[in-house]
Each structure stands twice: as C-alpha cells, then as structure tokens.
C-alpha cells in the first residue's frame, strides 16, 4: 500500500489509458506525458503501461510495505523521511515518508512503484478520466492505493531526455490537420508565437496570441478528434486537446501534435511561449 499524506496540486492514477472506446463516447485518457510514465515503468522492470501516480504540485506519501519506486517527468526534489536524494529509483522501506517538492521545471511528475498500482480497472484501464469521471477519483490525503506484486522484468534505463526549461521558447511538432483549409492562411499557425494560457488541464490547453482568421465560419458538423488535435474555435485562439478530450468536436482541427509534442505540452506551464513546427503528415483527409 501507498498512502497519500499531502496533496498540493493533484494526484491521479494513470496508465496508458483506454483506447478503442471512442465510438461509445469514452476518451482515451491515460498519462498526459506518456513517455515519462513509460520511462518510470521501464526503470522498475514493470510492464510499460503499469499504473502510476501523475502528480502536479508538491505531494507527500507514506509507504507501508517495502517498495521500490521510480520518478520521472517534471523535475522535483525528492526526500525520504526528510533526507533529500538525487536518485530517480529509490528503495523505500515500510514506513518511509516520500515527499516531492513542487516542480523546479515542468508540470507533471510520475511516481511509479515496482509492480504497478492496483486499482480496479474500468474498461481495461486504471486511469482517471477527469472529464467523464471514469476510473478512480482524484486521490485525497488519507487515500491508500494497493500495489501489485512486482514482475520479474529487468529494469532498463531510458536515455535522459533533454527537456526545455520553463519560460523558454518551446517547439511543438505538428502535422497538418484535416481542416487546415478552414484557416485563411494555415501558415500563420506556424509563423506566430503562442503562449500557454492558464486554461490548461487534461481536457485541453488554450493558447493565447494574435487570433487566427478563419476562411470558413460555418459550424463544422461534429467529427472525431485525437489527443493533440489543434482546434480553432470562432475566437481564433487555438485549443490543443489533452488525453481526456471529448471524443467528437465541432471546431476545425487544423493541426495535430506528434506523440512526443503532446508529451512536451503536458509539461508546459502557463506563460510558456511555443511555436508550431511542421512534422510529416499523419492525419490525412480522403
């Protein structure tokens, strides 16, 4: 068991989500920074999609069994029973208090446990979907989460990803979307700088900047959308969909982030300046 002691921002259980149910209105959900979740699991020899904690803000936990834990994602300062440590894989004997500081940079850190977290799967996933309420409720102080027996997998180390410091210009690779022709000049999306606004969560991230001009102002009949879709509502300010996005939308999707860019976006704080950079086509219209 791992017990939640303090929650500064949010603590959610996330794995790689529940793909395959979009036609019934169920979002894919799963870790916002999938690469970071996979890295933490690999460091422990877990299956890559084992459930872990997605933490924003400072948080404190107490383990009540001998556990091995791994941290990834946003850079946080970690202390075991108040003693700081720089390791990203830690042995935490029963009774240890594990505290994470608010991130020095980035937004979401992942705390994985050897074996993975054991909450009841819903439609094949243990992930919390904040939009639909599927999966376990966001964790609160006093909540305890069970841990599955550790698998016999061998730990492997990811290459350390160079992550951009908060506040610098961040490039987001994006393919042309199916409705890019709804913009008066699709190139403007890539040409202009954008700021991450405070309206950002697992459902979507609104950008601020000079509004884009749409060449078509009609309402788009609702159509399926993906995590990483860049929608342009009538305001002209793009919204990038996160893992808990509604499965269909009525705003034109003018670009789609690559999987890596979606992971990067999950770590960007309000005020960060981003630019879009053209990636190869991945979403084509027939």
């Amino acid at each position: 068991m791992i017990e939640v002691v303090e929650v500064g921002g949010s603590v959610l259980v996330e794995d790689l989500g529940r793909p395959g149910w979009s036609h019934l209105g169920v979002s894919p959900s799963g870790a916002a920074d999938r690469g970071a979740l996979v890295a933490a699991n690999r460091a422990l020899g877990n299956p890559v999609g084992a459930a872990a904690l997605e933490v924003t803000g400072a948080a404190t936990f107490r383990v009540d069994a001998d556990l091995v834990i791994a941290l990834s994602g946003a850079r946080v300062e970690v202390a075991l029973d108040g003693t700081p440590t720089r390791a990203s894989v830690l042995a935490a004997p029963a009774g240890t208090v594990v505290s994470l500081s608010a991130p020095r940079w980035g937004l979401r850190s992942y705390l994985a446990v050897a074996g993975g977290l054991d909450v009841a799967p819903v439609l094949g996933s243990r992930s919390t979907d904040v939009l639909s309420g599927l999966g376990p409720a966001p964790l609160q102080p006093g909540d305890r989460v069970a841990v599955l027996p550790a698998a016999a997998g061998l730990p492997t180390r990811e290459r350390d990803e160079a992550r951009p410091p908060s506040g610098a210009l961040v490039m987001l690779d994006a393919s042309t979307g199916p409705r890019a022709d709804w913009l008066a000049d699709a190139g403007e999306l890539y040409a202009r700088p954008w700021q991450i606004s405070a309206l950002a969560d697992r459902v979507g991230t609104r950008l601020e900047g000079e509004p884009l001009e749409r060449s078509m102002t009609a309402e788009l009949p609702s159509e399926g959308v993906l995590t990483g879709s860049v929608q342009v509502p009538p305001s002209g300010l793009p919204v990038i969909l996160g893992p808990d996005h509604p499965v269909t939308g009525g705003y034109p999707v003018v670009a789609v982030l690559t999987a890596t860019a979606s992971d990067v976006l999950a770590q960007l704080r309000a005020g960060t300046t981003v630019r879009f950079r053209r990636a190869g086509a991945s979403l084509v219209r027939r």
Partner: protein, 191 residues
C-alpha cells in the same frame, strides 16, 4: 485519418464496415456527422491502415440490423413550459411531437454513452441555453438544434430539458457499456 462521406448514414455504414474487419492495426473507428475518424494502433501502421480503409466499400456492411432502444420518459422537464412558449405549441403537443418522432443515433460524443439523436420534429428545433446549467441530472431527456439526447450521467449542459428516464444508458459493467451507438434506433414513450 479522417474519411469524408456524404451524410451520417453513409458514415455509419462505412464505420461499421471498417469495424467488421476486426483488424488489430485499427485502434479506433469514430463515426461523426459526416466523417469517420480511423486511428491506427501505431504511426508505423498508418500506411497499412490507409490501404485497408481504401478498399472498404461504403455501405457494403448490412444496415438492416440496427438495434432499437425504447426509452420511457416522464415529461416533467424544467424547460418544457419554455419550449412550449418558444414554439407556440401546447405542452401536450410538445410531448406528442417529441415522442412520436423516430430517432436514430447519428454519432456519440460529449460524454460516454451520449448519443446525438437525429429525427427531431422541425417545430421543436431550438437553440441551446445561452448559459449552460452547471449540473444536468442523469437521465435527463433533452433537445438542442436538430438533436435530442439523454444525459447518461449528471454533467454540465446547455440543452433544453423536456423530461427524464430511468433507463441506464452507460454502465461500465455492461457489454457493450453504452446502449446507444451510431445507428441505434431510439423511440421515446411517455410514461
């Protein structure tokens, strides 16, 4: 990839045909109002999925077997009087027109199990509320624009509420978890 079709019926037929292939390289098949989003299970599968989808004949899949769901409604919704006033109809006439129409799920979205039902009487087609309610109760039967719908669980919402039902439309323990999916035929019966 997003495949464009002429209308919702064609999109449903195309989606059913792609789904019937049961190909592991296809992760999602999401019908929209005039499109079908087909998602490959991995980027390296995209070319193969594009090839696969290119050979699907729209409408080849049989459409005759649409399931029907009957929804019993207590017509006591908060907006019933407003709808009557806006349309110039009596409350009884609103109820009659809403329950006598035949509906089909055009697509699912907004929330798990939330079907957009096409078939609403043109006289009942009204804009949604300018300010959405923060909490619409589960089972609310509602209308907005050309659609009717049932809220499977409580959520914020801006549709006009005509009544409520006890029918459970989304249950993670059921197979399939949603009673409504694109193509499902729906009838409302006053209770």
């Amino acid at each position: 990839m997003l495949v464009e079709l002429v209308d919702a019926a064609a999109a449903r037929g195309f989606a059913a045909s792609v789904r019937a292939l049961e190909d592991q390289r296809v992760q999602e098949v999401v019908p929209g109002a005039r499109t079908v989003l087909v998602v490959a299970s991995a980027p390296e599968q995209l070319a193969a999925v594009r090839e696969l989808v290119g050979h699907v004949q729209p409408g080849a899949h049989a459409r005759g077997s649409s399931p029907e769901v009957v929804i019993e409604v207590d017509y006591d919704g908060e907006d019933l009087d407003d709808v009557a006033e806006q349309t110039g109809l009596t409350v009884e006439e609103v109820m009659r027109r809403h329950s006598e129409a035949g509906y089909v799920v055009e697509f699912v979205g907004f929330a798990p199990g939330f079907g957009y039902l096409r078939g609403l009487d043109p006289a009942l087609q009204l804009p949604r509320l300018s300010t959405p309610r923060p909490n619409v109760p589960a089972g609310s039967v509602a209308i907005a624009g050309p659609y009717s719908a049932v809220y499977p669980r409580s959520s914020p919402g801006g549709w006009l509420l005509l009544g409520r039902t006890d029918v459970v439309l989304f249950d993670v323990a059921a197979d399939p978890p949603a009673r409504l999916q694109a193509g499902t035929v729906v009838r409302f019966v006053p209770r």
